[in-house]
């Protein structure tokens, strides 16, 4: 088979992250970022959220919720730096910082969700 660039893999992560971000982020951002602070809705109680967090399914959901959009950001931001600021000569540095950041964020998410009570 003809050799293919591995860009396909990163674009796949970018797409998956884009779908997750598009579907799942707006409602949570609206609730926790705007509606609850402004008092439009009552904040969920600590006990309620912790009981949700105990469910393995919720932890998996949150891991996907945090990890994939970070890879979406990494890919998009990398190209924005290439095109927007024309810093393509810093190719390797940008690549490492972007995907490294996404990996680090995913690792933090994994640790926090794994070790939650």
């Amino acid at each position: 088979m003809a050799k293919q660039s591995n860009e396909a893999f990163f674009w796949m992560l970018f797409s998956a992250g884009g779908v997750v971000a598009a579907m799942l982020i707006p409602v949570q951002l609206f609730l926790f970022g705007v509606a609850i602070p402004l008092g439009w809705v009552q904040a969920p109680s600590y006990e309620h959220l912790v009981s949700l967090l105990r469910m393995p399914l919720v932890r998996i959901y949150l891991f996907v919720f945090c990890s994939l959009p970070l890879f979406h950001w990494a890919h998009r931001f990398r190209f924005t730096l290439y095109d927007g600021l024309q810093v393509k000569h810093l190719n390797e540095v940008i690549f490492t910082l972007c995907y490294g950041g996404a990996i680090a964020g995913s690792a933090v998410a994994g640790y926090l969700l794994w070790s939650a009570p």
Partner: protein
């Protein structure tokens, strides 16, 4: 014969074809400010930064939940900080902008054919919007009940 080989005639070495000096304009670093369509594109790409920002906020919330009720109260107070609130409102705008542009553009990558003809993009995008509303209502109910 699989591929035809269209090779240009070999130039004798040392001869460089002459042309008068072409003008080669440089693309400015501010190319994206030159046109509304370019600016809209860059704003769409910048939305990814706000997506990443909300992931960070979510991780802060999870961390607060791990640490106890006091930490959770502290987090809620933090969300009420005017600067954070403004940042979140701006983030919400960008995240919704991402959602809408994503759903509208995704059908280009997956043309759907029905009865030999191509289904128009907005019809292919419609189920995504419906799913978005259903999922959002579901998540809101789970969180607020």
């Amino acid at each position: 014969m699989s591929t035809s080989t269209l090779q240009p005639p070999k130039k004798p070495s040392g001869y460089k074809p002459f042309h008068p000096r072409w003008y080669r304009p440089r693309v400015s670093v501010y190319w994206w400010l030159g046109e509304w369509h370019y600016l809209k594109f860059i704003l769409r790409e910048i939305s990814s930064v706000f997506v990443a920002w909300f992931v960070v906020e979510t991780l802060l919330l999870v961390n607060a939940l791990r640490q106890g009720p006091a930490a959770y109260e502290h987090y809620l107070k933090l969300m009420q900080n005017p600067l954070i609130l403004v940042l979140n409102v701006v983030s919400l705008f960008f995240v919704v902008f991402h959602t809408i542009t994503w759903f509208n553009l995704a059908p280009s990558a997956m043309p759907v054919r029905f009865g030999g003809k191509r289904v128009p993009d907005f019809l292919v995008a419609a189920p995504s919007y419906i799913a978005w509303i259903v999922v959002s209502v579901g998540v809101a109910w789970l969180l607020l009940r």
